[in-house]
Structure formats: C-alpha cells, structure tokens
C-alpha cells in the first residue's frame, strides 16, 4: 500500500508501470486518474487545492485500508496533489490490484467516492472573473450510501 500527498506532478505512466510490476498474484489492475477540467462558462485559469497536512495522510491511509479489507485487494496506490494546478493537469490517481476485475473496479470506485467527501481537500477555482470555492455536491455525499 502506498499513499502520497504531494504538491509536485506525478508520472502516471511510471507509477502505473511500477504498480503493475508489484503483484504477481493479481489478475486485475484498475487505475483512475482525476484531471483538472475546464469550466463551462468562463475559462479556468487555475485550480488551487488546499488540504489539512497530517489529517490528509491519515484519512487517505484509512480509506485505502478499508478498500484493501473490503475488496480483498492485493495492493493499492493513492496519490493526491495539492497547490496550484492548471486545466489538464493530473490532480490525483488511484490504482487497485485484485485477483479479479470486479473487485479491482469496485475498489477504485469506492476509493473515489470516499476521496471526494472524506479526504480533507478543498478546491478553489480561479477565473478572469474571480475566485470561488467549489461547493460539495449532494450527490457526492449520497454516493457514500452505496457502500
């Protein structure tokens, strides 16, 4: 299990290759990557992500441990960035390794639902018109009830 909270970019290809090499017993590896998306109305200049140093690492580790236990994962990787990111930049990734694909997919889905609402990150969008905090969506909170 590897959990990283960092400001600098990560190398998606290298991380995926490294993760895929790690576990011989896994029949399935799923990766998900979150990318800064442009806005519909005004061009996004940047997204700033604030976090709670200390609690962030603990929360991510806790969520990852839950995923390992629940979906019988052989391995899990979570990388989440903070700081100033531009559109197109990779924000975060998760990778899951399991014996079978259903567990690997479900675990990645579970991780994403929990990262959205239970990991202490706050996003702020910066456009030419000004800056605003991204509001949490009710549907993201509701998604946790699936699990």
């Amino acid at each position: 299990m590897r959990v990283l909270v960092q400001e600098e970019p990560f190398d998606l290809a290298a991380e995926t290759a490294c993760f895929a090499r790690g576990e011989g017993g896994s029949g399935a590896i799923v990766t998900f990557t979150g990318v800064v998306r442009d806005l519909d109305d005004a061009p996004l200049e940047a997204m700033e992500i604030e976090h709670y140093p200390g609690m962030t690492e603990k929360a991510l580790r806790d969520i990852a441990e839950q995923a390992v236990a629940r979906f019988e994962l052989q391995d899990v990787l979570v990388i989440h960035r903070y700081g100033r990111l531009v559109p197109g930049a990779q924000i975060m990734m998760v990778a899951t390794a399991a014996r079978h694909r259903r567990s690997a997919f479900d675990a990645a889905d579970f991780l994403m639902d929990y990262l959205k609402s239970r990991a202490p990150f706050w996003k702020r969008e910066i456009t030419a018109k000004g800056e605003s905090w991204v509001a949490a969506k009710d549907e993201d909170e509701a998604a946790l009830a699936r699990w």
Binding site: M55, I91, L115, S117, P120, F121, W122, W133, V134, E141
Partner: protein, 81 residues
C-alpha cells in the same frame, strides 16, 4: 488547544490557526464560546450544517467530547478527488 480553520472558514475568520484556552466540554460548547467572541466568528459559525469538524484529525460531529483534545479543525464539506 489549537484551533484550525480551512478554506472559506479560514478566510471568514481571517487566520489559519490559533491557540485557545477553553474548558468547553464538547465541540458545540467551543463553537458557542467562539461565536460570542467577535462578529467574524459569529458569521463563520452561523450555519453549522455548512461546516464539518475534526478533533485530533478525526472527522466527528458537533456533539463530540473535547476531553483530552489537542487540535480541533473547522472546515466546509470536503471536495477531494
């Protein structure tokens, strides 16, 4: 204990963290003490349904005990991922 504020809570209160001497038994009691201090706290804590709280870096609720707590953090609902 140390009190931390994040995102718009930090902006409304005007500082990221402060040390507070308090005998508050619960998070709700601490919030009452803070609200009584100054208008900016009153504004920041006016709608508790818009806030989340962590005690010693564990997410909890406003009824949580502060017995032995060293760090309390207030912030809006999280937007990770």
């Amino acid at each position: 204990m140390d009190i931390l504020y994040f995102a718009w809570v930090r902006e409304r209160i005007g500082l990221p963290r402060e040390r507070v001497e308090s005998n508050a038994a619960t998070v709700a009691d601490l919030v009452s003490e803070l609200r009584a201090r100054e208008e900016r706290y009153e504004v920041a804590f006016s709608d508790l349904s818009a806030l989340r709280v962590a005690v010693d870096q564990e997410l909890t609720d406003f009824n949580a005990s502060l017995s032995g707590a060293r760090e309390v953090a207030f912030f809006p609902p999280m937007t990770g991922g």
